[in-house]
């Protein structure tokens, strides 16, 4: 699901730090934002927009961090509003609901671990590509060259 690959050039120390920060930004805000991860999405989006004029390496990793947050927002939003409907409306706790929450929690844990790993590797200047999100980032983010 996660693979280390060669980037088109070797990023400098400052670039690696900035790229790693885009993942850290989502990690810090995820704690404040759960169960509805709007805060970390906004924080990652803010960091993404702030680095639009950054180098290709930084922009690429900001894009990957932002895209991964979007799917998390979607999954957690469904779980959040489903729970609200159970508490305040006529919905009841079903096997499907519990199964969804378990899968959502597993997805969150997996994403959390993957984000920490990517932040550490990126800080070392190593290029980490996520399954699907890496390819999507390459499509969205174009090289300066």
């Amino acid at each position: 699901m996660i693979r280390i690959s060669h980037f088109s050039y070797d990023p400098g120390e400052h670039e690696a730090e900035n790229a790693s920060n885009s993942y850290l930004m989502s990690l810090i805000a995820i704690i404040a934002g759960l169960p509805l991860p709007l805060l970390n999405l906004l924080a990652t989006l803010g960091f993404y927009l702030g680095n639009q004029k950054g180098t290709y390496f930084v922009r690429w990793h900001c894009t990957q961090a932002l895209l991964s947050q979007l799917s998390l927002l979607l999954i957690n939003s469904v779980g959040f509003w489903w729970t609200i409907a159970i508490i305040f409306a006529d919905e009841s706790i079903t096997d499907r609901y519990i199964a969804y929450i378990i899968v959502a929690v597993l997805y969150n844990i997996f994403e959390f671990i993957a984000t920490i790993y990517t932040a550490i590797q990126t800080r070392k200047g190593i290029h980490v590509e996520w399954f699907f999100y890496g390819r999507l980032s390459s499509l969205i983010c174009k090289s300066d060259l």
Partner: protein, 264 residues
Amino acid sequence: MKKTLLQGITIIVMFFSLWFIFAQIEWTKVLDTQKSTDKMEEHLGELLWRFFQESEREINNPFIVSSLDSLKEKVCFENKIIHPSIKIHIVENEAINAFALPDGHIVIYWGIILNSMVQEELSGIISHEIAHTQLNHVMKKLIKEIGFSTLVSLTTSNNGSDVIKETAKILSSSAFDRSMEKEADIKAVEYLVAARIAPKPYADFLYRISLNDNEHLKYINWMSTHPEYTERSEYILDKIGRNKYINEPVLHAETWNKLQAALL
């Protein structure tokens, strides 16, 4: 581009497959969610009723208690509601008030019994409160007003006297929302019809109370907790329509008169 799309579809398929596989497990049975919810409601009901018992005087006169139980049992039996699950408590208080607590506890002030002209009116009030318990309005209201986590902590610790007081106040003197009141009124009419009790006196009771003058206003708690009573009486009459309903009195006329006299 094609490979990216394929990877995206793979992630979506993986997510839904995992969800489908997990959904095959009967989690509600494994975790016994209903049992733990029922247990919390039972504990909360006991806690709140104990609070009222300490602050109000309960009427234990066997004649009065059995008369009200007869009205309750008739409604419950004809509507397939397990009647021991509904526990009626009569309280010595002149206020025109009745309210439901969690776990089927219903508190009825004697003021409301005295202000009922006929037994069908009282059956209507009891049916309305039973409807609140059966439609789970009490727990929904509490979760909305004080929050689920507070309710859980209330039932798991002994340090919540202020919260219990606040919760008791919410249930005894604040309204359910309009849609819940309407739902309970309509359900009450259905209960009455199934029990062969005329529903019109219940609408008459609401309307009559709404006409009460200032002299009685200080006692009309039930009306302040059940707002828009003229409107309520109107939609109950709408629900009844021009249909003629059978009315089989549950109590003998003599018993009803004796009940009213016993409370004076």
